[in-house]
Symmetry: C3
Subunit: 357 residues, 3 copies
């Protein structure tokens, strides 16, 4: 098992989910239908009708209820069946699983696990996304790779030297340090007298990048660029890189990046530059790594380790331990003895009922 | 096993198979090459040469024999090898399996099973397809779904309310009754004072639909629409929906529908309306259900049952019992001890023969 | 196992591999990055960085070394890691497997096996590719089929009658003989008084084709066409058909064909005619055979054998014996007890090192 199940995951940017319109997306192999109700709250349901397994996202939202588009069973926002178009009685046994959600900082988070959700106060805050003194751009791409490979990518920013010419390219040769802080991992990269990649040609900068991993897959990157001209003006660029596994080998990659509101660069140019970096430089490389790894786990392939792997190794170690604990706890919990209510005999009873009608 | 093997299946519409031209199609996972001989009779052969496994449908029909397009072995219409271009002697051991076929009512039926074919008199008749007082349109589509999911769709016509606005849409709230008749299943739907979907706006009708399932996968639907204006003129629309598994998760869906010859609607418009309903409304939904079900069987997913499932549940119950009986009978029959005639030793002999030639 | 591992395989035409540019290609399921160094020599490396498994072919060639395009480890042409951009010390444990290559007769050969490569002097020579008195055209296609099915195709040229109208078509009804010569197999085809397919319409020829299989998958075909007019001028057309498995069900098919330098036909026309025959006539048929065979091995499907199969049967018998011997030898060799150097503990050490830095 490569997922931590009991965790808050990024489900969507707030702006993606509109009132009374479905957004269908898969998390941790489970299809989910999201929509915003008329009160503006997010509802997230298992995207599969319990009757004949049609995707509920192919249905309609009618008076705040989700009506399946195949045979019309309606479910309220708690997942209870409240109406059968063809009978005065709605089937009580029909229940759709509803997933806890939490919306803050322009992002919708979802809890896919079986246990009670953690206090949403534990969800990482993303202040740069709402800071009125900053302008923030938001991106989303789906990469055909295990989410941990994208985390590896983020926790070792030395890949900038090879992959990102517009962030400095081969001038990105940093002093590197990585450490743990209470189950989080920080990697810090400092480059002195680096040829400037954002200012006057020929000028140099002090470049300071610090990226923090927060389980299971949020990364907060803070870049601080100080010109060497003594002006002491710091360009501060906070960004978030948040990963949600879609399947074992595909990942929703949410990213956002902010700059001071008075930065001359337009939002469109900022967005385009970041799409170039994340979608067209990072993603093809990580997907190629996934293809080369095939079905193998990283450690099974006996990777060579170098000092700059420290961030990703710490991250993987903490995450693996969390997953191991979760799986062990699962084994200790006696499974509820599931009595199949809807066997062929139950079917027979329904048949008799209908036949006698 | 999800197939009833010993059964007549729809193979093609008569018009699809031309004289001396191959139609290649797969039934129950078995590739078949069909053609019409010069006497007008249909021939159906395993579409795989027993020599080097080329599809025979890539070959030619020469003087009524099928000549493989790879190395030229020729087979008569009983599947016997009658010619080797490169030797005066045809290899006796080379046999192609020929499948029994029966053509009637503009449809070609095929028997894929191992046992003797049932009397073709047992094949369901489709009189609406040949009635000179009616005009009939014919369709065929291949759906990426288990054939039983398409049967489920047909045996519960309440999906009309959600999927088929041009057949009444949400006005389709019927009185429903389903029953068995000697291994067949009938579902009947009656709607009184239904807003007319074919006549004058504002008028109402008595709508009477009855669909009959005949194992393994023929469905005959008879729709009768009577206006409430007392005129007593009944619009009678018989149709057939016949399913043949291509593979475990894909199905050939043959449909035909007839109306009185003097109906003002053109054949083109009738055909377009039905393609819209079956190809563009039913099929995407059933395929979506298949994707949500993945590799699971329906009952394993513990579906909620409601009264209107009675038709599909009866159908599945009868079909499952038939398949079970067939599989049990197979186990009781001692398999013919197969002596592999064409082992490497036989190969060696052929080599010696050729070497000595 | 369907591959002979310890063997020279065709990797590329010489002209495909340019100085300091990567050619990425998979052989026997192993991805390989090839390039030509500034001395003109070919280097072939496992196309997977031992650090984080990026394809090295996505990197750069810098001063003769291969620099990974992900985190910049550099490897010399022997596969030793010589530089880490972010550390004064290159990790000694980082080694990329380098494959022995040999270039001759305009072709690059590669040795994928574990044992010492055979003497390149044993690689089949292809003199028609370099003969100054001939003009030679070169082709390459990748077929979605087991390489042995393509060998079968070549070792039974009677398929010409059915597949290749421009090489005589149904007039290709030869006297056939096949024999072994010291682990090689020869198939000979002689047709007397064959209607000419290259000369004057109405004239006839003596057509003599001899194809030689050399393990594991080189085929040398020599065609000699003598007109029946007594002129005694022999048209000599040597060609090579060399197969390299890409995967179990896909094959790189290299072909070349030469004619006397003064042949009036242009190179373009020669090339087009051969692409028609090999890419558009042979390949679709062999791929169709593969689809019909699915995952089965040839003998498991109990093919009918006829005399003209003798060449392919001999080929398969010799090859199967070679593979069996190789696999048996593998079992006898005690595997080197692999001590995983780069476990989570080693990772931990790297982490400590970095953390302490």
């Amino acid at each position: 098992m490569a997922y931590l199940e009991n965790a808050w995951y990024a489900a969507a940017w707030s702006k993606e989910v509109e009132v009374n319109r479905f957004l269908a997306r898969t998390y941790l192999d489970i299809p989910v239908a999201l929509f915003r109700n008329e009160a503006g709250e997010i509802v997230a349901m298992h995207d599969r009708c319990p009757h004949r397994f049609a995707p509920l996202s192919m249905g309609q939202i009618v008076d705040g209820a989700v009506r399946c588009g195949y045979h019309g069973l309606s479910f309220d926002q708690a997942g209870n069946c409240i109406k059968n178009l063809f009978s005065p009685v709605a089937p009580k046994a029909a229940k759709v699983r509803v997933y806890p959600v939490h919306e803050q900082d322009k992002m919708i988070w979802i809890w896919m696990g079986e246990s009670e959700p953690d206090d949403p106060a534990k969800i990482p805050r993303l202040p740069h996304q709402t800071d009125p003194e900053m302008r923030c751009v938001f991106g989303l791409t789906t990469a055909k790779a295990d989410y941990r490979l994208l985390s590896d990518n983020l926790m070792d920013l030395t890949h900038t030297a090879l992959l990102h010419p517009s962030f400095g390219g081969l001038d990105y040769i940093p002093q590197f340090k990585s450490w743990e802080e209470d189950q989080q991992v920080v990697s810090r990269y400092i480059i002195e007298h680096m040829p400037s990649f954002i200012g006057e040609p020929g000028s140099t900068i002090h470049n300071h990048d610090e990226i923090r991993w927060i389980a299971p897959s949020t990364h907060i990157l803070e870049s601080r660029i100080t010109p060497d001209d003594g002006s002491n003006h710091i360009t501060y660029i906070p960004s978030a890189h948040i990963l949600t596994p879609e399947t074992a080998k595909s990942t929703h990659y949410f990213w956002s990046s902010a700059m001071a509101a008075d930065t001359p660069m337009s939002d469109e140019d900022m967005y385009a530059q970041l799409v170039q970096a994340f979608d067209h430089e990072d993603k093809p490389m990580v997907e190629a790594v996934q293809r080369r790894m095939g079905d193998a786990e990283l450690w099974d392939l006996d990777p060579i380790l170098i000092a700059t792997d420290a961030g990703s190794v710490r991250m993987r170690r903490i995450l693996a331990a969390m997953i191991e604990r979760e799986q062990a706890a699962k084994k200790d919990t006696p499974e509820s003895t599931s009595v199949p209510l809807h066997t062929i005999e139950a079917a027979q009873q329904a048949v008799e009922a209908a036949a006698g009608a």
